[in-house]
């Protein structure tokens, strides 16, 4: 079932039998998967199957049981702060930038010394430098996404968890975000939650598909996207034989 290359070193992240119970709901019911140490692993599934919850559980933002190994170290008992400091960056759904703070302040929060002057910002997000004194809350959705991405890249990361970065963005911005993600993925592995299948096809190497709180498929991204029937069965999105692009 798992077609990940065997020639590469061990996974950067291993999730074993992850359970999350919230209020009365049993949202994750024993999720297990690996994230390869390079490239993009896409976490797919219909709405409400537990993709966002999986990311939050890895970070300790949702009450979880099970085993989580980051580069071989068990982290399921660690606090969120420690997990992030140990190198897992998080870009949440809906960006969650600090709207009352300026762009620069949003970045200085993570990196007091360099902030907006960090080379990575200049290289990937030149637009933000021009808007350094603008309040993040007044930025467009795409710009806010760039702030959210820049924010995690300021800290040295071994893995990025990115939740629906293109949600609600206009087509042109989707392309821009995809370009940034592809660039980032060259140096840092990404676990990506995404609904946009063409984007998944373009930048993802592996896929993990969730349904009703369980993993129902693991494999190569290209293989899944090419198989329209399987895509429809797992994700329910494909409406005709072949997706347009």
């Amino acid at each position: 079932m798992n077609e990940t290359d065997t020639g590469t070193p061990g996974p950067i992240l291993t999730v074993e039998d992850l359970h999350v119970r919230y209020g009365g709901s049993h949202i994750l019911q024993g999720v297990s998967f690996d994230v390869a140490p390079k490239g993009v692993t896409a976490l797919l599934g219909r709405n409400g199957v537990g993709k966002t919850t999986t990311l939050k559980a890895i970070l300790g933002l949702a009450p979880r049981t099970g085993r989580i190994l980051a580069a071989g170290t068990e982290i399921q008992k660690h606090s969120t702060t420690r997990i992030v400091r140990d190198g897992i960056g998080y870009v949440p759904e809906d960006r969650e930038v600090f709207g009352g703070l300026t762009v620069e302040e949003n970045l200085r929060l993570v990196d007091r010394e360099r902030g907006i002057e960090a080379p990575v910002v200049d290289r990937l997000f030149p637009d933000l430098v021009a808007r350094r004194n603008q309040r993040a809350g007044t930025l467009s959705g795409g710009q806010q996404q760039m702030v959210a991405l820049a924010r995690v890249l300021l800290r040295p990361t071994t893995l990025l968890l990115i939740d629906e970065p293109t949600k609600g963005l206009a087509p042109k911005l989707v392309t821009e975000v995809a370009d940034v993600l592809a660039e980032v993925a060259r140096s840092t592995p990404i676990l990506l939650v995404e609904q946009n299948l063409p984007l998944v096809r373009r930048i993802a190497d592996d896929v993990v598909v969730l349904d009703a709180g369980r993993v129902v498929h693991r494999g190569r991204a290209a293989t899944l996207v090419a198989d329209a029937d399987r895509t429809r069965e797992l994700l329910g999105v494909s409406m005709r034989k072949e997706g347009a692009a």
Binding site: G24, S25, L197, P198, R202, R232, G236, M239, A244
Partner: protein
């Protein structure tokens, strides 16, 4: 029936919904689909009165309800479910339904009138209708995810609504529960309720809906029968994502 006429909704600088017109008649099921962030839940919120549209009008039956509160619309025969289930977790399934019956009744909070007794039959009837007979005494927090969604449906049906709005009623439920919920929703439509449903399970929407509305970036991309909509090239493009 419920009808949205040229509804628009702006938040801050963002146009979440733009000139959207849809309507659902009695005994009709409208499936609302579209990529994430397209404005589907916002549309349901505006139809149900949880949010107010910036432009356009909403009609419920033959009355204009554009400026009526959610509570007023509920009393006029509109019921809805939420994307994330919102039950009273500390209460049993039966008590949840009883509260819904009571809320829809004539005097929802008369003091010092015994509330128990009269409703037992209706509670059982509603639970049976959503395939949960005999679960009245189970705590809501102990129900499976699928049963929670069914219980929500039972609560929405407690008011005998003429219009039912469902926001992803099958989000996160298992395959067998999807089938059960599909059957229940079909039955509700068949007794003459106007149903509008946001849903990501495409085979459910295409199999169940009489008409489908496709939202994209807050705009209505297409409406029509499932066959018409699936054949539409713009829908194909939009739904499977932007050209990259």
């Amino acid at each position: 029936m419920i009808e949205a006429q040229a509804v628009g909704w702006r938040v801050g600088g963002a146009q979440i919904l733009d000139d959207v017109s849809v309507s659902v008649g009695p005994g009709e099921l409208l499936g609302i689909i579209g990529p994430n962030g397209a404005g589907k839940s916002s549309l349901v919120d505006i139809l149900s009165g949880v949010r107010r549209a910036t432009t356009g009008r909403i009609a419920l039956g033959d009355k204009d309800v554009t400026n009526k509160s959610a509570t007023r619309r509920a009393r006029m025969g509109l019921a809805r479910s939420f994307q994330t289930s919102a039950l009273f977790d500390g209460l049993t399934a039966g008590e949840n339904v009883r509260l819904a019956i009571q809320a829809a009744g004539e005097r929802p909070f008369t003091p010092f009138r015994r509330a128990e007794g009269d409703d037992a039959e209706r509670i059982d009837g509603l639970l049976a209708r959503v395939r949960m007979p005999g679960r009245a005494d189970t705590l809501a927090s102990d129900l499976s995810h699928g049963d929670r969604r069914k219980l929500e449906l039972a609560m929405a049906l407690a008011s005998d609504p003429s219009v039912l709005l469902l926001d992803e009623p099958m989000a996160g439920v298992s395959a067998e529960d999807v089938d059960g919920l599909t059957e229940i929703i079909g039955e509700v439509r068949d007794v003459g309720v106007a149903v509008a449903m946001v849903e990501h399970h495409m085979h459910v929407v295409l199999g169940l809906a009489d008409r489908v509305a496709v939202l994209h970036h807050g705009q209505l991309l297409a409406t029509g029968s499932p066959d018409e909509v699936t054949a539409d090239d713009r829908v194909q493009q939009a739904y499977l994502g932007e050209a990259l």
